[in-house]
Amino acid sequence: MSHTEVFAPWDDPEATPLISCQDVTKRYGEFTAIERLTLDIFPREFFALLGPSGCGKTTLMRMLGGFEDVSGGRITIDGQDMAGIPPNKRAVNMMFQSYALFPHLTVWDNLAFGLKRSDMAKDQIGDRVEAMLKLVQLQKFAKRKPHQLSGGQKQRVALARALAKGPKLLLLDEPLGALDKKLRQQTQFELMDIQEKTGTTFVIVTHDQEEAMTVASRIAVMDEGRIVQVDTPGRIYEAPNSVYVADFIGDVNVIRGRVSALNGESAELNWGEGKRPIRATAGAGAVHDASGAFVIRPEKVTIATEEPTDRHNRVKGVVEDIAYLGNLSTFHVRLESGDLISAQLANSRRFANRGITWEDPVWLSWSDTAGLVLGD
């Protein structure tokens, strides 16, 4: 693969997946945690499992690690069926949410722990540990015990320990959950950097959509034990296949109605008697004359005081609330129909005076391709 080529093995029918889940099911008594889940993850991918708590993402990860059995279906890693193979016999390592650093061992011994139990020659262990310490920039802390480290340092030790044995697959369970926001953002880039350097396949479990968007090559959005959509962050955000995904990732305005026209790429949604139908891109599940939902991101909605007659999609409303976030301002506009639509503007000038304030009548508009009509 040359550097100019985009990394997208999932689009290549010739590519062999590293992990393959076929109809994987997990039941705890009556409760089904994972239901007939099928998924391929390719070598060198940074794959994110994203979903609300209880959606089964952690269960799926624990099955990959060997900590839970599969109730039905099959998981193969590198072509090998994983049924009945315990965690210590898998070329998979895990970074735990609590970091799970051994409190009675120094950083050095924590990193050497797995190597001592592998077939690595004794005299090479030291070099490997030094290399891992260097990778996470903790050379100075080798002699410390875990309780003598800060949160960010612990996180890096946990990462280095999980990578020390050079696993084919690294599982990361909410790896940055315990860090504060600034450190988390910085660490996300470090993670991506390390993933690229080591060429290891990463599977990360997170409930933080920004984190998933930042680090992942592909994201699987999960809900109640099923995968709703697997796609690149860009497509998940711009081309969600359902209102659930659109709503879970980022902010979205949803207007429900009936699909009144569907021709190729474009669709129209009838959302009320006497209202001009909304024109938008046809999305997944949109069927003519069936109920549908129009979804549009707030930053794609334009706000103006004058009627923008050059646009087909324009509605009148009253400013109900303004949220000033510094970099952005969000206007919450109540339409005559009662729907609440948010429009987001970048504050590219300091103290910009747009002349729009509370209770002002305004026009909202968007282009014919800015939103999606989805099945509902």
Partner: protein, 269 residues
Amino acid sequence: MRRLSAFNVVSLTFGFAFLYIPMLILVVYSFNASRLVTVWGGFSTRWYGELVRNEAFLEAAWVTLKVGLISSTIATVLGTMAAIAMVRGGRFMGRTLFSGMIYAPLVMPEVITGLSLLLLFISIGLERGVMTIVLAHATFSMCYVSVVVSSRLASFDVSLEEAARDLGCTGWDAFRSVTLPIIAPAVVSGWLLAFTLSLDDLVIASFTAGPAATTLPIRIFSSVRLGVSPEINALSTIIIALVATGVIAASLTTKRAILRRQAEERAAA
């Protein structure tokens, strides 16, 4: 430092007086030259000398020590295993019954425990001696160890063990190299507790001891029934000194460890 109120001073004085005046009297009279326990006949270390030459006491002390060491070790192994089964075993058939039975000896009157063990030993024809006392002590102190260890295990992060297995350990290796070192303080306190209980025990030991083996508490108790001898005072003083040294050393070590840890955590933050 806050000044203590008059009420606090009075209650402290009475509290300490209650606790320590009897012991103080005992220590003072152990240096009494007179054979009569209640009459002061001048300072002397004569009874300490007599004690060293008293074969029966030395023999009993040795038996007590032996019983304590062996029984507390057995109790620690069994109690730790029971704690692991209770905390980690998940739900299994008869779990509630099992946990109830482990903790029953905590509330069982010692007389009943002693008597039932005596009946058991007689019925299986086991000759009473050091062995029977060891078995009896291991039985009743095991539940104390189990209580101490299971409370530590309950707060133990299971993902530590999973991490060990993830890094290539088998189940046993993970327990030996990760779980055991981390719960070690609880296991050691369990052992110390069992050891102390064993040294202390009079009731169960008197049921299960035979003519061949007598523990120190039994020896002291039976000799006091014939009148308190100054030798007993001397022996008790030695025991008090040993216990006090142990307690002070332990608390100093703990305090230093805490201070060092706090300093290290400050340095890391």
